[in-house]
């Protein structure tokens, strides 16, 4: 059983190899076909023709972290919802109310974030 289950994934594996090969081949071919003519000015980082004003590895807004953390919470929630949505017909009212409780707890957190202003970009 497990063999026939896994064999369905074999074409995907082959596809992975071919797609990866195609990506590498495209870049390699362009590198060989195109005339390479490096120059220190050409290879410096682009800032609209100016010398770079500051390092690019510098401070940035903490909001981006907040979004990433919120994303992890809600994406995990969705990962739980996927199997629940499939079997809801079998687990009936008990399954439904358990998920309502689970979503309710998450909503409390969501409302807190909203009120705290974590979702505002000013």
């Amino acid at each position: 059983m497990s063999d026939s289950f896994l064999i369905e994934y074999l074409p995907i594996l082959i596809f992975f190899v071919i797609a990866g090969g195609a990506a590498i081949a495209a870049v390699a071919m362009s590198y060989m076909v195109g005339q390479q003519n490096p120059d220190p000015e050409k290879n410096s980082q682009y800032e609209c023709g100016f010398e770079a004003f500051a390092e690019s590895r510098s401070k940035f807004d903490v909001k981006f972290y907040l979004v990433a953390i919120l994303f992890i919470i809600f994406d995990l929630e969705i990962a739980f919802l996927f199997p629940w949505a499939i079997v809801l017909g079998d687990i009936g009212m008990f399954g439904f109310w358990s998920m309502v409780l689970f979503l309710g707890i998450l909503t409390v957190g969501f409302v807190y974030e909203w009120k705290k202003g974590a979702l505002d970009w000013e």
């Binding site: 082959i14 071919i18 495209a26 290879n43 590895r57 979004v67 949505a85």
Partner: protein, 338 residues
């Protein structure tokens, strides 16, 4: 040993490889002509001609563009982190292509008919953000870095509502297999319930593929190209191909989830229409969604970043979250769960 291998697996391998190369070929040609389609449609909406010079009606323009990009110089910025810088466009292209392994274009016409097709699609499209954030970080340029950051948060924000929209569809069809999603019978109630979700999904895929009006990662007028700013030649072309292949992929997902895949639209049937192969319907529906992409680009000005985040987190997320409960509640109440 080798002969034995070929006699046992040769035929299987041959058909699989052929199938893969057909998918790749059709996909790349579609991407090339999607750029042509986009330019022509945009031109028509702005009362211009669009590409006209290369070939009849400019039909060879995509080929000329491809050749030009192929022969350009590959620039590796001195300060860039070179391995990551090179891998990023390859990864983007790779992910945009491999997702097609599970897309059913007609009945029983799919490379890998796995029973968790939607999860596979969701996983692959989630990984797409890595290519962009790697490019933005490895370029070691401020524009690229800002573009990469913006793009990453934008994509993850809209992925949440996309995931919840997919959950509402799963509630109605009761299977993760993409063929069964298409074939599942949908009652009138389900169609009514899913309609607002389709709207949310259509808007989310615009944000997910960084298309106008949500094209802030590129934002020509402020970031001059965003995460792609340091890329040239084929490394740039791979991002470009990846973005357009992703557009087609997201359109195909919309068609499979909401528009009945390869089935005739609006349930029409009869002798005068049944001879049309499913793949034609599939291609037409995907083209219609792609037209929506271009239409949106020609019609709307770019969003501001705070508006974009507000729409994602404060409108779509609560709405879809409530809608998951509404759909499940309505289906339980009417006893119509699959």
């Amino acid at each position: 040993m080798i002969e034995e291998f070929i006699s046992t697996y040769g035929e299987y391998l041959f058909w699989t490889l052929l199938h893969i190369f057909v998918i790749l070929g059709v996909l790349l040609v579609s991407v090339a002509y999607l750029t042509y389609f986009e330019r022509k449609v945009m031109a028509a909406m702005q009362r211009r001609h669009g590409p006209m010079t290369v070939g009849p009606f400019g039909l060879l323009q995509p080929l000329a563009d491809g050749l030009k990009l192929l022969t350009k110089e590959t620039i590796l910025p001195t300060k860039a982190n070179k391995p990551v810088f090179i891998i990023a466009p390859m990864l983007t292209f790779f992910l945009a292509i491999v997702a097609w392994a599970v897309i059913p274009v007609d009945e029983n016409w799919v490379l890998a008919n796995i029973n968790v097709g939607i999860l596979y699609l969701f996983a692959i499209s989630s990984l797409g953000v890595y290519g962009i954030i790697m490019a933005g970080w490895a370029s070691n340029s401020r524009y690229a870095f800002l573009g990469g950051l913006r793009s990453a948060s934008q994509m993850v924000s809209y992925e949440v509502s996309m995931g919840l929209v997919i959950v509402t569809v799963l509630l109605c069809v009761g299977s993760l297999n993409l063929q069964e999603v298409v074939m599942a019978e949908r009652s009138f109630l389900m169609n009514i319930l899913l309609f607002p979700m389709m709207i949310v999904f259509l808007i989310s895929i615009l944000a997910e593929t960084n298309r106008a009006p949500f094209d802030l990662p590129e934002g020509e007028s402020e970031l001059t190209g965003g995460f792609m700013v340091e890329y040239s030649a084929m490394t740039f072309a791979l991002f470009f191909l990846g973005e357009y292949a992703n557009m087609i992929l997201m359109s195909a997902m919309t068609v499979i989830l909401f528009m009945g895949g390869w089935l005739a639209p609006f349930g029409i049937s009869g002798e005068w229409i049944d001879w049309v192969p499913g793949i034609v319907w599939f291609a037409l529906k995907v083209s219609a969604v792609l037209f929506f992409f271009i239409w949106a680009r020609a019609s709307f000005p770019r969003y501001r970043y705070d508006q974009l985040m507000r729409l994602g987190w404060k409108v779509f997320l609560p709405f879809t979250l409530v809608w998951v409960l509404v759909v499940s509640g309505a289906l339980i109440a009417t006893n119509s769960l699959p």
